[in-house]
């Protein structure tokens, strides 16, 4: 049981910065927790309840770093991200001056800039606990955005079908990597949430987790299949929209599962944005402008979550 307690303390520190100061703190809190356990045992408690009392006496260690951590550069990140979104069209406009190839390079740069901006925006608000998972998820989403780049670039740069085929293959690989990252981060975030909600002693295994994992995997494989099907019919440059839609639908479904109206609303919003984007792009062909729908969607999402937090805040009072 002491070993289990040591493991528990280690786990509480796992996501905290590894400074010398933090190591000292870890050692001392570990010592205190073990002393507390021994004290409970000496007072006649059974091992299980002594473990629980000792583990609960630790509290939330994020308190130790919270005052300085979350705001670190979060505003700066948002400002840079928005500036990048705005500037993303510059390479397109500049590239057009150098003919077709220039325009293609410009478009590719635009996607890369948008992906960078999206990454910055999605990782702007993180706490030490959620940072790694949020970074992975943001990286996945950024990869979705850049996955069209090889298709556009290689089709232009390499002669004939070779470039196109290679580009599509690369796009598939990128999208697969992105899917892997998003699925991993989403399923781990849910796990972490559950672990935080459960009492330290209740580390029971959950059979439904494996089933859920399989369902999630099947869902994304279906999305990838739909993507390749659509790619053949309406063209690859449009088919990737399947992934943002699938991601939004995933969020909505998990919202239904968790009874979170906010998640459902956000999911529906992103589905609407993606569909609007697709329709507008196909109709007008102005894909260099229609992507603006996504930053607009992000702004709407911000407003939405603001309204929700106002509502829940109001209920509490």
């Amino acid at each position: 049981m002491r070993k289990k307690l040591i493991g528990y303390v280690d786990a509480q520190f796992a996501h905290l910065p590894k400074s010398a100061q933090m190591r000292d703190l870890h050692d001392e809190i570990l010592l205190n927790t073990l002393d507390r356990y021994d004290e409970e045992i000496a007072a006649g408690a059974d091992e299980e309840s002594a473990y629980r009392t000792a583990a609960e006496s630790i509290g939330d260690l994020d308190e130790l770093i919270e005052p300085l951590a979350p705001k670190n550069g979060s505003t700066l990140r948002k400002v840079i991200a928005i500036a990048l979104y705005v500037c993303a069209v510059i390479p397109v406009i500049a590239g057009t001056a150098f003919g077709n190839t220039g325009a293609i390079i410009g478009v590719c740069l635009m996607f890369v800039i948008c992906a960078t901006a999206t990454y910055l925006l999605l990782t702007a608000n993180t706490t030490p606990k959620t940072r790694r998972l949020k970074q992975l998820r943001a990286l996945g989403i950024a990869l979705y955005i850049v996955c069209v780049v090889p298709v556009i670039a290689l089709a232009e740069l390499l002669p004939g079908d070779v470039g196109e085929t290679l580009g599509v293959c690369l796009m598939f690989l990128t999208a697969a990597a992105a899917t892997g990252l998003v699925v991993y981060s989403v399923s781990n975030a849910e796990k972490a949430q559950k672990a935080a909600a459960a009492t330290p002693a209740a580390e029971e295994k959950e059979p439904s987790n494996a089933v859920r994992g399989l369902l999630i995997a099947a869902y994304w494989i279906a999305a990838a299949a739909l993507f390749s099907l659509l790619g053949n019919h309406i063209g690859w440059p449009y088919a990737w929209i399947v992934f943002p839609i699938a991601g939004a639908a995933f969020s909505a479904i998990s919202g239904i599962h968790n009874r979170s109206v906010k998640k459902i609303a956000a999911g529906l919003l992103w589905i609407a944005v993606s569909v609007c984007y697709l329709l507008l792009t196909v109709k007008t062909g102005a894909w260099y402008a229609t992507w603006l729908l996504f930053p607009i969607g992000a702004a709407l999402n911000g407003i939405l979550s603001g309204i929700f937090s106002l509502k829940t805040g109001g209920k509490k009072e």
Partner: protein
């Protein structure tokens, strides 16, 4: 209980300083004393305790040093400073005042 705990937690630093006024001490000993004095009705979480230490050290109310090698475990001892004593006295006076006002406001006669 939770309202009481919240009310007490607002005075974490004063509680710690009250212990350090008597003698230099380390985290576990301070928390054990808090538990015993409150009759096991209140205790500080480790996270709260060490966050308070950090804040108070930065504010110059306490200093710390390594000690306790005799027992085999390395403990960081905390020591109250003059600024800490001043802060404690000010907080104590504020609490006395708040308590007397609250007593009058909440308690009914008879």
């Amino acid at each position: 209980m939770s309202i009481t705990a919240d009310l007490i937690r607002g005075h974490t630093e004063t509680i710690i300083l009250a212990q350090l006024l008597q003698h230099d001490s380390y985290g576990y000993e301070i928390n054990k004393a808090v538990r015993q004095i409150s009759g096991n009705r209140f205790e500080l979480k480790e996270a709260t305790l060490y966050t308070a230490f950090k804040r108070m050290e930065e504010a110059g109310q306490i200093t710390s040093y390594w000690g306790g090698e005799l027992t085999g475990a390395r403990r960081r001892y905390y020591c109250i400073t003059d600024a800490g004593r001043k802060y404690y006295n000010a907080q104590l006076a504020l609490w006395e005042e708040a308590k007397s006002i609250l007593d009058k406001l909440i308690e009914t006669e008879g």
